[in-house]
């Protein structure tokens, strides 16, 4: 069975706080770019499924030619092949145009299962994979915490929702998104990195998959940094810890937050 792992290249989470509004407006983010951390869980799960079933995994990303680095990370972890949907020159597209292109790429690979991270650390949308499922007409299960079984043309998974754990079974082909609970992504091995660095990653222009500039249904405007929290900290003093506790209780009751 062919499994497609959708990955995105995103800023290193440690560098997210320093990203400026100008960076986002121009689309040229000045940060170290890495594989979206949530997608590492997806890649790891595809590799682990390979230990349980006869699975061929391919990593697919839509992005600029630089996004091959994210694909190479997936290859270095142990994913067998990779493909890039090159969106250079496309502007104003949104999650649904991205989804349509990725759906076409998934189809071209002949995949029967799509695995991806629950969201990206930059757009925070968690929507593209739903769009992929909708375009392909495949069922979607999001927030998967365990793949229980793939058998008889179905996949059975556990997933976490607020206050409950659901076990759901859907027919293949299907799309799943995974959270942090599902596994512990491996670090690429030295051999893996060497192999990935030599890999030939085919690139398909996004335009040839139907992505047109300016075809998005939403636009971002007034892009800005959140207001900095401006507080002056009142340090609670007291001779004993009990006295400090009493003074803090007075203050919090006066603030009406308790």
């Amino acid at each position: 069975m062919k499994v497609a792992v959708l990955v995105k290249q995103t800023p290193d989470t440690a560098e997210l706080p320093k990203i400026s509004a100008d960076d986002v407006r121009s689309g040229k983010v000045k940060a170290t770019m890495v594989i979206n951390p949530w997608d590492e869980f997806a890649a790891e799960e595809a590799i682990l499924l390979g230990d349980r079933y006869d699975v061929d995994a391919v990593a697919i990303s839509m992005g600029s030619p630089d996004a091959v680095d994210a694909l190479k990370h997936a290859l270095a972890m142990g994913i067998g092949a990779a493909a890039l949907v090159d969106n250079s020159g496309v502007t104003g597209a949104d999650m649904w145009t991205t989804a349509a292109a990725l759906a076409a790429a998934v189809k071209a690979e002949g995949a029967e299962l799509v695995i991806t991270g629950k969201q990206s650390v930059d757009d925070n949308s968690g929507a593209v994979y739903a769009g992929v499922a909708a375009r392909l007409g495949w069922p979607l299960v999001s927030a998967v915490s365990k793949v229980v079984e793939i058998a008889g043309g179905r996949i059975t998974v556990e997933r976490m929702v607020e206050g409950a754990q659901e076990t759901v079974s859907v027919p293949l082909p299907a799309v799943i998104s995974v959270g942090k609970e599902i596994n512990e992504p491996r670090y690429p091995s030295f051999m893996g990195i060497r192999k990935a660095s030599k890999a030939n990653i085919p690139a398909t222009p996004a335009a040839s998959l139907g992505v047109a500039s300016g075809s998005g249904k939403t636009q971002w405007t007034n892009i800005r940094k959140p207001e900095e929290r401006k507080t002056k900290c009142v340090i609670i003093d007291g001779a004993t810890v009990e006295e400090k506790a009493a003074k803090l209780a007075d203050a919090l009751l006066a603030e009406k937050v308790i």
Partner: protein, 326 residues
Amino acid sequence: MSVMVWIEQNNNGPVGNSFEVLGKAKEVAAALGTQSVAVLIGGDTANVEKVRSYGADVVMTVTSPLLASYRLSAYVKALRKAVEAAGATVVLMAATVRGREVAAMLGSELEAGYAPDAIDLRVEGGKLVAVRSVYSNNILADVTFSSPVQVVSVRPRSFPMPEPGAASGEVKAVDAGLSEGDVKEQVVEVKSTDTGEVSLTDASIIVSGGRGVQQDPAKGFELVAQLANVLGAAVGASRAAVDAGYIPYKHQVGQTGKTVKPDLYIAAGISGAIQHLAGMGGSKIIVAINKDAEAPIFEKANYGIVGDLYQVLPALTAEFKKRLGK
């Protein structure tokens, strides 16, 4: 034209966050000069009166045995029927796990502009604008739409919980038009993970622990939990504490954990890394308890106690027990 809100239900009935969204939806509908419509999807209409008491102009019910347990494809089909019946142009729901997948599927199927996990909504020049917090809470953006239908999921606690009142809205039943063959998912099992503890995203008070518990992590988080218990608060943690294995990931607050917005956030033994602040900086009042008077958390806190959390937390627990008569 109408502004629609999907009222999510779980084992305990309608999800409170849905009513936060409905409260705002009524304002949006008024600004657009149209009606607000609450949609209840499920196996029966048991909760329709409760939903009516939150004052939507219309409460739509889509009922079928096939909708008795939540299944994404069935619920999206049911919601589409309601959208059609009400001529909804704005569709809102709470950005829970289910809400986010329903909104994304609906948006995609309708080719509608979708703003996920929005933190504010307004109407400008007769058009909806959603505010999103992106780059893991490091950037804000206004989202405008160029599609006839607009879909938004709304981050829990973005809007105040409205007070229920007299039920006045008209109730309309919409045919789900579903057959089992339309529904791909089989629900094998649903296990409640509701341990009675307050969830982080719903909490009005959160008590969190960090690396400062390292001397005796089990004891440290027990003290955090005891204070949380007295205050009716949720238990949170910094990434450092989660990565060290002191407490499960579901408690993590911050850039790669949950974003929270309580009235009161008590950070015990948390230094205040910028990634943690990204997740809790929207709290109304922040209290920092830390041995290190130079810890960056004090720059963001409203109140601070410089001291050992193993002494401060039990003292606070005892004090609040007294004050709250527990």
